[in-house]
């Protein structure tokens, strides 16, 4: 135990470990890797959204210059992958289910040759009618995407039938009876759009097969273990034949969590007998990876006249896309969060997830929470208006008491939401617009998000010289988890950060880590690191006890990699400890720790749940987000002037990295709120380029983006920490919509809040006033 209050590493805004490599332009990403004899891959996408594959003619493509191998559905066996429902082949097999879905892939000496050869592949397709919306998918007689749905292996099974991929229904209290006790009941329908992740690095992979048939696979990923599982399942390869590694990753946001083209790349390398690198173009990255789910949300909330929330019902209809991917999880998670961070006794949240002939929708920062929050927090704001209550006051009146559980019963051990609200309530009042033709408004939204989920491990090893290697298997996608975990480790062992080396994830050598997702690495992996470091500390003290001839309990770790007897000046460096361990007695010092998040989501005495995808979910972070906007009356265009995000992260291990998470999430949320939208023309994605799909630039993001860190420590979090990766995005669209309401007097319920939608509302108001 470090005995002082002062920390060495935790709570310090230390620069990320890999930054010097990145600013030198030397950090290697997947597209930068080269292997001897490496081929380049390319994909042939389906021209139809739904068709039966009748046959392939590959002769012309195989004869094309540079071509070494071609892979189709006939090459990949019967394996299917999927985190919840195993419904997805490595490459379209038997059927194709969305436009652009890989039908075949070519490995050739150059990328240009591979792409040219793709065009020479002939695939005979029998077109089938397509399902393009969830409503169409649920209609009687709708064409079926997955005729074999009943036979698929389901890790999670909830009502899958026809095109219904899953459904969930969660209920607490007695909603139907509660409406009668409400003085005000609002019920509205909200819609949200498909948002693309747009990690600046497109997805890619590089696979190599050795003489024993063992595969080494590098890829842009958020979890080498999910890559391993997906490739193993879809290609029917034992995991022991797959080694998955990660170079630097150019952003994730969810797109790189589950598989993209890793299975296809492996299949190509196996067939070609040479290493194959496959890097998606930006267009392909839009068309065949994944995106944020469009939601249709019916939200109903009831309150008493003094502003007590009594009941809420939320019903969602979610577009799944062609494959289940993480969608059943997104549906269930969104419903779990749809109550909001309030005490509401009567809550019913239910919804359906429907297969359609579009690219799979999947994990995206927020995981369904931004969508339901867009609806829920607008409704709370509207209730405050209609009851003539200050929006802060209404929210404060409905905050849960300490120790009150989350909706369905999950324990909430720390909750700093009240302090978050206080922090943003201190902001100076908004000044009116200085220019004519512009109106300003301010909006508030609050939210909670989990961090947690599933298994994780850590191994801490002491090298001969007393320095440390930390190995967790957690992919750092740029957010800084390597640094944060190293800070936790350094703090626990009282060593400077540069004495801790973080090993790159490697399925051969790293302990299991479910992934860089669910805002979980700091919290869950941090706990594992702390556990492993404690074990190392125990071994250090045991060794040192022999050297210094004292009881281990009399020893303390001292800053700088030393251990000594408390209250004396007798101390030795770790090198001495490690030397004894390596060469004399006890054996090299290795500490490991693993855990799986175990606290239940559901308390069956309190609530009922059908289709609960995460029976053990996580701990809760909280946010209050305040936004000032200015609306131009001529165009309807909304600009965000300034924003404040106050977030309870338990303990900021690295405050600056927390701030960057909040700021980055805010701007991604701003894009979702105002401009980003994937648009389909029938089955075809009409804007799969950065020319047509726009994300905010430096001029669109407000400079005055304020991050306020609140620390309500989580008892079992590492040094009290809980997650910060996603929560920042959740309230943004709602806060902006509330600010637009404040400025303009009307409320918009469809995302994005484009200039066109706002102008239409302005004109509708004017027409209404004139009438």
């Amino acid at each position: 135990m470090t005995q002082q209050d002062e920390t060495l590493a935790v709570g310090k805004s230390l620069p990320k470990l890999e930054n010097l490599e990145k600013v030198a332009g030397r950090a290697a990403y997947i597209a930068d890797l080269v292997r001897p004899g490496m081929l380049h891959g390319a994909i042939l996408g389906s021209p139809l959204p739904h068709a039966r594959i009748k046959g392939y003619r590959l002769e012309a493509a195989l004869a094309a210059p540079g071509v070494v191998a071609i892979v189709t559905g006939e090459d990949v066996g019967a394996g299917l992958m999927g985190a919840f429902i195993k419904d997805e082949p490595a490459i379209a097999r038997g059927k194709v289910r969305y436009l652009g879905e890989p039908l075949a892939a070519v490995a050739a000496e150059s990328e240009a040759e591979a792409r040219a050869a793709c065009r020479l592949i002939e695939v005979e397709l029998e077109e089938l009618p397509a399902v393009l919306t969830p409503e169409e998918g649920l209609a009687a007689g709708a064409p079926l995407l997955h005729e074999q749905l009943g036979d698929y292996i389901k890790i999670f099974d909830s009502g899958s039938e026809g095109n219904l991929c899953s459904r969930s229904l969660f209920e607490e209290g007695a909603v139907e009876e509660a409406w009668a006790n409400c003085d005000l009941v609002l019920e509205e329908v909200y819609t949200t759009q498909a948002q693309a992740h747009v990690a600046i690095e497109p997805c890619g992979a590089l696979a190599e097969v050795d003489q024993n048939g063992r595969v080494t696979l590098w890829s842009a990923n958020q979890s080498v273990f999910r890559v391993q599982a997906n490739v193993s399942e879809s290609l029917s390869l034992p995991m022991s034949r797959l080694r998955c590694l990660t170079p630097h990753v150019g952003g994730g946001f969810g797109i790189k969590m589950e598989p993209h083209i890793q299975p296809i790349t492996v299949a190509l390398a196996m067939k070609a007998g040479r290493p194959v690198k496959l890097i998606l173009s930006r267009e392909e990255d839009f068309e065949i990876t994944r995106a944020r789910h469009p939601f249709r949300i019916r939200m109903k909330t009831g309150a008493t006249e003094d502003g007590l929330l009594l009941a809420r019902e939320c019903e969602v209809l979610v577009d799944c896309g062609a494959y289940a991917d993480d969608s059943p999880g997104v549906l269930g998670y969104s419903l779990l969060m749809a109550r909001g961070p309030y005490r509401i006794a009567n809550v019913k949240c239910h919804g359906k997830l429907v297969y359609t002939n579009k690219l799979r929708f999947g994990a995206y920062r927020g995981f369904g929470n931004p969508q339901v929050t867009f609806a829920g927090e607008q409704q709370i704001d509207e209730i405050a208006r209609q009851l003539d209550l200050d929006p802060f006051e209404l929210r404060r009146r409905n905050l849960p008491a300490d120790g009150e559980p989350w909706f369905l019963g999950a324990e909430v051990a720390s909750n700093g939401l009240a302090q978050c609200l206080d922090a943003v309530a201190r902001v100076e009042p908004l000044a009116p617009a200085p220019l004519p033709g512009r109106r300003r408004g301010r909006g508030l939204a609050v939210n909670a998000h989990i961090s947690g989920l599933l298994g994780t491990g850590a191994i801490v090893r002491m090298l001969e010289d007393g320095s440390i290697v930390l190995n967790t298997g957690a992919t750092d996608i740029g957010q800084g988890s390597d640094t944060v975990l190293a800070q936790i480790c350094a703090e626990a062992l009282a060593v400077p950060l540069d004495m801790v080396r973080v090993a790159s994830p490697d399925t051969d050598g790293s302990p299991f880590n479910w992934g860089t997702t669910a805002s979980r690495v700091t919290y869950t992996t941090g706990r594992a690191v702390l556990g492993a470091a404690r074990e190392v500390e125990r071994q250090i003290k045991e060794q040192a006890g022999h050297i210094l001839e004292c009881a281990p309990d009399d020893l303390a770790l001292l800053p700088g990699g030393r251990v000594g007897i408390r209250g004396t000046d007798r101390e030795i460096p770790f090198a001495a400890v490690s030397g004894r361990a390596h060469w004399a007695a006890g054996g090299p010092i290795i500490g490991s720790h693993s855990l799986v998040f175990e606290q239940p989501t559901l308390d069956p005495k309190r609530a009922a749940a059908l289709g609960l995808p995460f029976p053990r979910i996580g701990v809760f972070s909280f946010i209050a987000c305040l936004v000032d906007v200015e609306v131009e009356e001529a165009s309807g265009q909304v600009r965000v002037l300034e924003a404040w995000s106050a977030v309870d992260v338990g303990r900021a291990i690295n405050p600056r990295l927390v701030e960057v998470q909040l700021e980055g999430a805010f701007v991604q949320g701003l894009g979702m709120a105002l401009v980003e939208e994937m648009v389909w023309d029938g089955p075809r994605l009409a804007n799969p380029t950065l020319m047509d799909y726009k994300i905010p630039t430096a001029l669109d993001a407000p400079l005055d983006l304020h991050s306020i860190i609140i620390e309500a420590p989580e008892p079992d979090g590492p040094f009290g920490a809980k997650g910060a990766g996603e929560i920042g995005i959740n309230p943004v669209a709602a806060a902006i919509a509330n600010a637009v309401r404040d400025a303009m007097g009307f409320r918009l319920r469809d995302l994005p809040l484009s200039g066109e939608r706002v102008l239409d509302a302005i004109l509708a108001e004017e027409a209404g006033d004139a009438a």
């Binding site: 139809l48 023309d681 029938g682 075809r684 804007n687």
Partner: protein, 152 residues
């Protein structure tokens, strides 16, 4: 992409119908059509050149008549590609002829067109404009031909 419209031809329906079934006449009316021939019953091969500024494409299309109810309606499917399969085109089209007042024919058409591949990445708005231009050019030429032939 949905292309739809209606126009009136000053000619009776029984005169107009054979014209829409006349491969050569139809080809002559379609802007950019370089070649059209009937392969076997109800199947046609057509080559059409389309140009938008610097972007030029020559589509090789196969048109198949799925349903025909003379002289009332025609339902056909089009499949094709351009630029050695750089882009694919599919279309499902329906043409209806209604008898109008005083020996006129009301022609309505509705075509659901999908272009994928390289041209599919090109702006949707402009593709619609170009399709509308092609349709307008066709209607103008067809009406002129039809009305001239009906008189003769």
């Amino acid at each position: 992409m949905l292309i739809e419209g209606a126009f009136t031809v000053a000619a009776p329906r029984d005169k107009v119908w054979p014209m829409i079934r006349d491969t050569e006449l139809m080809a002559a009316c379609l802007p950019g059509c370089e070649e059209a021939r009937e392969e076997d019953d109800g199947r046609y091969r057509v080559a059409v050149k389309v140009k938008v500024g610097p972007i030029a494409a020559r589509f090789l299309l196969q048109i198949e008549i799925l349903e025909e109810e003379a002289p009332l309606s025609l339902h056909c499917r089009t499949r094709g590609e351009e630029g050695s399969r750089a882009s694919q085109l599919t279309a499902d089209s329906l043409v209806r002829l209604e008898e109008g007042a005083a020996g006129e024919t009301e022609v309505t058409y509705r075509s659901d067109v999908q272009v994928t591949g390289r041209l599919g990445k090109f702006g949707l708005g402009l593709m619609r404009k170009k399709a509308d231009q092609l349709a307008a050019g066709f209607v103008e030429a067809f009406r002129r031909r039809a009305e001239a032939e009906a008189v003769s």
